[in-house]
């Protein structure tokens, strides 16, 4: 539980002016250098990290560099590391499934311990976690970096075994499923019919990805000269296509320009692969929509050990999605000051992209180290989220924004965020994976 002396650390510099000054000044934020350059600190703290995805791995590398004497344990049963932003390129037929796959162990520092199991329970009062096999691991500080759970089971009739057959796609499900989705999309754009594109009503990782895949399908149909036989139908979960109003307007204009048909307030709940019908909850009740090709994107929730624990939001719009209830600037848990959440699991209003992880990791590193050494933390997270919104093969919009729905372009005046550019495509195709890998190593 939060001790009074911890309180001042929860919102350092959080006067509005202080925060704006920080956010406005890139150089003020550039105080943390990658772990390798910062001085190493002496502590025997026992730190446990749940999850060795983008966020967990990057933090493990940075923390072990900064605090060589700390005991750092990472807990994750997944042997394969997945570079998920690559799934879109795989599902567009531009990369093979292996493009996104590497080994978890190759990214982890030798100095830490990896328990190759999933956590099944977190007890924040006793400060211990239990792994799938029943092993108990205690901690002084806990980092939640479990990512999220794709809840395909909550879509009635959906079976991942069907992906690639009968026009069913699921770009999110993994690299192999992304590759099968490409086969289905390729066949569909040869033949024509109705392409149906969906997104869930829950929080989701990379909210631009459902839009990207819609644009890519349109692009292939145009290139194959079959666009006349293809109908593109996008089912939005709410009254908008994207949560940031200015981006939403731009996407709406592009959808009109490309001749997509859009339905709002449509949340997919079931699929009938035999009849090729998808069922949606709408303000007017349940409604069936036909498809010849569909990209099923399921509801996303926190993994069970967080979702069904006191770590999750207990009230409000996220109560049943289970995201960790952390302060949105410091990423520290609001009830347990020695617990942080980083990456997709964090219950904050924006984020859930690898680009957000890159911003969040140094913040958690700074907050945690300040806490261990009784110092004042200086870094906070401003909601930075980014997503190269592909609008066709060869062009994208480099959309970047923060908690306030402000656009926060990295290259203001040079790379326009709402323009379809080749340079933004190059960022996605060449720079993104390299930057992601550098981040995993703690160097970016």
């Amino acid at each position: 539980m939060i001790k009074p002396e911890d309180k001042k650390m929860l919102l350092p510099n959080m006067s509005r002016r202080g925060f704006l000054a920080l956010a406005a000044s890139g150089s003020a934020l550039a105080v943390t250098r990658p772990g390798a350059q910062a001085e190493s600190l002496k502590t025997k703290a026992n730190i446990v990290i749940l999850g060795s995805g983008a966020a967990g791995t990057a933090l493990a590398n940075r923390l072990s560099e900064r605090m060589p004497n700390a005991t750092i344990t990472i807990v994750d049963g997944r042997k394969r590391h997945l570079y998920q932003p690559g799934f879109t390129l795989i599902a567009a037929g531009l990369k093979p499934a292996e493009y996104s796959v590497s080994k978890t162990e190759q990214w982890l520092p030798d100095t830490i311990k990896w328990i190759e199991e999933y956590a099944s329970e977190v007890d924040p009062v006793a400060k211990k976690i239990t792994t799938a096999s029943g092993t108990k691991v205690t901690y002084d500080y806990l980092i939640l970096a479990t990512g999220l759970k794709l809840d395909f089971n909550s879509i009635e009739g959906m079976d991942l075994g069907l992906v690639g057959k009968d026009g069913i796609g699921a770009v999110y499900a993994g690299p192999e499923h992304a590759e099968k989705t490409w086969q289905a999309m390729d066949a569909f754009t040869d033949k024509g019919g109705i392409g149906l594109f969906t997104r869930p009503a829950t929080e989701m990782k990379c909210a631009g990805a459902p839009l990207k895949y819609t644009f890519l399908t349109d692009d292939y149909a145009r290139k194959k000269d079959t666009r006349g036989k293809v109908k593109i139908h996008y089912a939005a979960h709410s009254k908008s296509l994207f949560s940031v109003p200015i981006v939403n307007e731009k996407v709406r204009m592009l959808f009109d320009e490309r001749g997509f048909e859009t339905d709002y307030d449509h949340v997919m709940v079931a699929i009938d692969p035999g009849k090729k019908l998808a069922t949606f909850n709408t303000p007017d009740g349940r409604k069936d929509l036909p498809y010849d090709f569909i990209n099923v994107i399921p509801p996303m929730v926190a993994p069970d050990p967080v979702r069904f624990s006191d770590l999750a939001w207990q009230t409000g719009k996220w109560a049943n999605q289970g995201w960790a209830e952390v302060d949105k600037y410091t990423l520290r848990h609001v009830r347990y000051s020695e617990i942080f959440a980083v990456g997709d699991i964090a219950g904050v209003p924006k984020g859930k992209t690898a680009a957000s992880v890159k911003w969040q990791v140094p913040v958690v590193e700074d907050q945690l180290i300040a806490q261990i050494f009784g110092k004042e933390a200086t870094q906070t997270y401003n909601g930075y989220t980014s997503c190269p919104l592909i609008t066709r093969v060869g062009r994208a919009m480099l959309v970047e924004f923060d908690y306030n729905n402000n656009l926060t372009p990295s290259f203001p005046g040079i790379i326009a965020p709402l323009e379809e550019l080749w340079i933004s495509w190059l960022m996605k195709e060449i720079a993104l994976k390299a930057t992601y890998n550098a981040m995993l190593r703690g160097r970016a």
């Binding site: 934020l29 550039a30 250098r33 990658p34 980014s386 990295s410 040079i414 080749w422 340079i423």
Partner: protein, 115 residues
């Protein structure tokens, strides 16, 4: 992006090419540049005829480097979307042109001397 330091940039380039290849490319570029300086110092000036010949090949270097970028990415001329795209494209061309000029000049000077 939070901050783009030189360290970050270096780390990203190492990931794009692989550490070995990246530093090999840097070494090759450094060797060619040094060789150019050495040749110029040795001859005490840039020789007009070989330099003109090298310059005539610059457009080939420019086109080749642009072609190379298109070949290793899923993109092409049709994807140019705004002014920055053309600036980047021209910069790649200029880099290729200047690089090939220096390379060809150095090679001519070295061959001329040794034969």
């Amino acid at each position: 992006m939070k901050d783009l330091t030189f360290d970050t940039l270096l780390a990203v380039f190492e990931e794009v090419f692989g550490v070995g290849l990246f530093w090999a490319l840097v070494a090759v570029a450094a060797v060619i540049t040094l060789a150019f300086l050495w040749v110029v110092l040795r001859d005490r000036h840039v020789k007009a005829v070989p330099f003109l010949r090298a310059e005539l090949l610059a457009p080939i270097g420019a086109v080749a480097s642009i072609w190379f970028v298109f070949a290793i990415t899923s993109s092409g001329m049709k994807d140019m979307g705004g002014p920055i795209d053309l600036i980047v494209l021209l910069s790649i061309g200029v880099a290729g042109g200047v690089g090939s000029t220096i390379l060809v000049y150095v090679m001519q000077s070295l061959i001329a001397k040794s034969s």
